[in-house]
């Protein structure tokens, strides 16, 4: 049975010439799991918001949306609020109240349900999502992943038939993203909830998808079963796909696309020879002069608290890209903050270019030496337009292709564009050492690619870069050396490929796919080149 029918939907933002959504029609069957793809600015978010009457942006909307045979325009407010659940990417801001139980009750309070019913449904939902022992906690004390799970639970409490998810995991670390994806999958499988989801990283959800949709410049160009769609898809869809699909596609194979590591591994190991086990790579040599030297640094936030950084010893050489991996709460952000002088170490010494931090007097540290790109880049934006934002830093030539947005408000940019604008701002002081805190968070495939190229150019120009990230695939592409932060210490650094190929969790899908068959193949490109060199195995 069709649960959602969209008929020739168009949407135009005020003051825009082009329609953001142009004549989109599709039908979803009950219980389908649909992934909506498309690069930044293709209208994914707008389309998803148009499906939910309460969050339609300001602008001209044409077309019909029919849920369970009823036009949404004719629905009562309470029914319309309940039938479609909407979760956006901002895990912090979509939580409204201060206590977990109140957040769960919020939706039902709003539609005037009686108290007994609220109690029952909150109890049920809390048990299903694992919040039973956290009901009286402050929402502020939850981790990012838990917040997003709470946002999902707070929507599920209203018993929606359709879940509309707008990049729900883009702010989360990989483990939280995975557990969120599993939960959505569980709701889809056990409860028959129809899911339509847009996401940057498809690794976790592609295996669950029944159908793929691709938006391009506001038009729906692909809307087909997953395997069929992948078979005839072109680069615009495939560039967003995870490593298994990309490897299979690049090698020009026919048949069912592998969507997870396991099937991709069987494909690579089964079909390709491994006479050449390793690519000849340029040995990661580094200069001998030290850009950053930290020795036995310790730090804690409160006098009686535990040391969050406990004996951090780390050397980064000039001209290299160094990546620091680590779990949530392992102190990665704190480490960057210490290096950039944002907070002062309790003990130990930090030298930047051979000079102790405290010898950089009067902000001279931030004038041509060190720059930090924070995790939340909105903390850098002060003005109303991109141009003002940059001219404040004495940048007249707008870099990174941002010139077409020069009159836009920084908050109206996509995640990727914001990141580039912030990067342009912190680069304005011409630092010799650039620190990046989770630079790929909330970036889509295209923006990641762009950032990657920028970092490579900066490195070529002699800049030293330290990246703190969960994104192992990104680090695999650009970092020379890597270390894992654990118990407040940095484990001995290794060349990136070696470290990733040796790890089971801080590693890349490509490494897992090719492990044992090939050595040190940590990016899709590595695996593809090795497969090509070796050729197909005889059957």
């Amino acid at each position: 049975m069709a649960i959602l029918t969209v008929e020739s939907l168009s949407f135009k933002y005020p003051l825009c010439e082009r329609a953001a959504i142009n004549n989109v029609s599709f039908t979803l069957e009950e219980g389908e799991f649909v992934i909506l793809c498309g690069e930044g600015g293709s209208g994914k978010s707008t389309l998803l918001r148009c499906l939910k009457r309460e969050v339609i942006p300001n602008g001209d909307l044409a077309g019909k949306i029919i849920v369970q045979g009823e036009d949404t325009d004719n629905m009562s407010t309470a029914a319309s609020a309940a039938v479609i659940g909407f979760v956006s990417q901002e895990c912090e801001q979509q939580i409204v109240t201060d206590k977990v139980w109140h957040e769960l009750a919020f939706g039902l309070e709003s539609i005037g349900a009686d108290k007994e019913e609220i109690s029952l449904r909150v109890a049920e939902t809390a048990a299903y999502f694992g919040f039973s022992d956290k009901l009286h906690m402050d929402t502020a004390d939850l981790s990012g992943g838990e917040k997003q799970l709470l946002a999902l639970a707070a929507v599920m409490v209203m018993r929606p038939k359709i879940l509309v998810l707008d990049e729900p995991a883009s702010q989360l670390d990989p483990i939280a993203a995975r557990s969120l994806a599993e939960t959505v999958r569980r709701l889809n499988r056990d409860r028959g909830i129809t899911v339509i989801i847009a996401e940057h990283r498809l690794d976790n959800i592609l295996p669950f998808a029944d159908r793929l949709m691709l938006l391009k410049d506001g038009e729906l160009v692909i809307c087909d079963e997953r395997d069929k769609a992948l078979a005839y898809a072109e680069d615009d869809l495939l560039s967003e796909m995870p490593a298994p699909v990309r490897i299979f596609h690049e090698l020009g194979c026919e048949g069912k696309y592998p969507c997870d590591v396991n099937s991709a591994r069987r494909f690579v190991v089964g079909r390709y020879k491994n006479d050449i086990r390793m690519l000849e790579t340029v040995k990661g040599s580094h200069s001998e002069s030290k850009a950053l030297e930290a020795k036995n640094v310790t730090y804690r936030y409160e006098r009686d608290a535990k040391d969050i950084i406990d004996g951090l010893t780390l050397t980064v050489y000039e001209g290299e890209i160094f990546a620091l991996l680590g779990a949530n709460g392992s102190g990665k952000t704190t480490a960057l903050s210490l290096i950039s002088g944002g907070c002062r170490a309790v003990s130990g010494s930090i030298k930047i270019f051979g000079k102790k931090l405290k010898e950089y007097k009067n902000n001279s540290l931030y004038k041509g030496n060190v720059s930090l790109l924070p995790q939340d880049v909105t903390t850098l934006f002060l003005h109303n337009t991109v141009r003002e934002e940059l001219s404040e830093m004495n940048i007249s030539q707008i870099p990174f292709g941002l010139d077409k947005y020069s009159d836009k408000h920084p908050y109206d940019l996509s995640g990727g564009e914001r990141q580039l604008l912030a990067l342009a701002k912190v680069l304005a002081v011409k630092p010799k050492l650039l620190l990046l805190d989770e630079p790929t968070k909330s970036l889509d495939a295209l923006a990641r690619e762009k950032l990657l190229n920028i970092l490579k150019e900066l490195k070529a120009s002699g800049m030293t870069i330290v990246i703190v990230s969960h994104d192992t695939e990104f680090c695999a592409e650009c970092a020379d050396r890597c270390s894992v932060l654990f118990m407040g210490r940095a484990l001995p650094p290794m060349p990136t490929a070696q470290l990733l190929d040796n790890n089971d969790f801080f590693t890349t899908p490509s490494s897992l796919i090719s492990r044992g068959h090939y050595d040190l193949a940590v990016t899709p490109q590595d695996v593809i080149s090795l497969c090509r060199k070796n050729g197909r195995a005889e059957r």
Binding site: V55, F106, G342, L372
Partner: protein
């Protein structure tokens, strides 16, 4: 039997309103004294050693209030001694002592009230006024710490841009202004996300239900009725002029009467109730444990 801590927040609020309003409106020395002692004993029993700090503060307040009145007011007929040709009178001193006991006892009661009422209980009280008021309070409790955290993050980020400096006071003020402005923009922009999230869950569609985690048991209702009744007796006695006192020029108290004595007993019960309930619950708990 229940401690005040475990009672329904509305009963608790009503009780504290009554127990503080009576000494405020009926400044009869017996009442202020009972209020002061009752409150001090309760705070000590509840907080144990941590109450020392409260006692020191209240003691200081008590001392100041007692001493200031005779220095400022020179009414009264019994002169104790002279300071700078101004008389210090016994009546003014006793008046100061009485009002100090009254006011200090209010501070004690408030300290006890604040300890009992956490944000969930306050929310419950608000939700009786209106479901919207409760929502506004809950949002405020969520957003004030969030904005504070964003302020700290922003300050660090802006500092590393090299535009914010601690060098001199003008630069520092300018830097703080920048941070403030960034945080305001952030709060407004993110308010839109929150508003969407609220609208998506049907906020504003119909009359809100005010859901709370609190439960009213028969004991809570009975306690509230008792508190109201005892307050009624005190009010009646006061209205019939049985609990009057005037300090100037001479101290004149109303004569002992049946109604007045009953009212004093009523207030004594109220002021002692929190401690008695708390003790009673503890004894009963031990008894139950010993039988298990």
């Amino acid at each position: 039997m229940k401690k005040l801590d475990d009672m329904h927040p509305l009963s608790v609020t009503l009780f504290f309103l009554c127990v503080t309003l009576i000494p405020m409106f009926i400044p009869y020395p017996v009442i202020t004294a009972v209020s002061f002692i009752g409150a001090a004993v309760y705070v000590t029993a509840q907080e144990g050693r941590a109450s020392v700090k409260t006692h020191l503060w209240v003691g200081l307040l008590f001392l100041i209030l007692t001493l200031v009145n005779p220095l400022v007011s020179h009414k009264g007929t019994t002169i104790l001694f002279m300071i700078n040709d101004s008389p210090v009178t016994l009546e003014a001193f006793l008046y100061g002592l009485n009002s100090a006991a009254g006011l200090s006892s209010v501070v004690y009661w408030f300290a006890a009230f604040a300890r009992i009422m956490d944000s969930e209980k306050l929310l419950c009280v608000f939700s009786v006024i209106s479901a919207r008021a409760a929502l506004v309070m809950s949002c405020a409790l969520r957003y004030i710490p969030l904005i504070r955290a964003q302020y700290i993050k922003t300050r660090t980020a802006q500092r590393s841009l090299g535009l914010y400096s601690d060098g001199n006071i003008v630069d520092k003020i300018r830097g703080d202004m920048r941070v403030f402005s960034v945080v305001i923009t952030w709060a407004l922009e993110n308010g839109i996300v929150t508003a969407d999230s609220m609208a998506a869950r049907g906020c504003g569609s119909t009359k809100r239900t005010a859901f709370t985690t609190q439960r009213a048991a028969e004991f809570d209702i009975a306690a509230a009725v008792c508190a109201a009744a005892l307050t009624g007796i005190c009010a009646a006695a006061s209205l019939c002029d049985r609990l009057d006192i005037s300090f100037y020029p001479n101290i004149v108290m109303s004569h002992s009467s049946a109604l007045g004595d009953i009212a004093l007993a009523a207030y004594f019960i109220m002021a002692a109730a929190p401690t008695i309930l708390s003790l009673g619950v503890d004894i009963r708990w031990r008894y139950l444990r010993s039988r298990a």
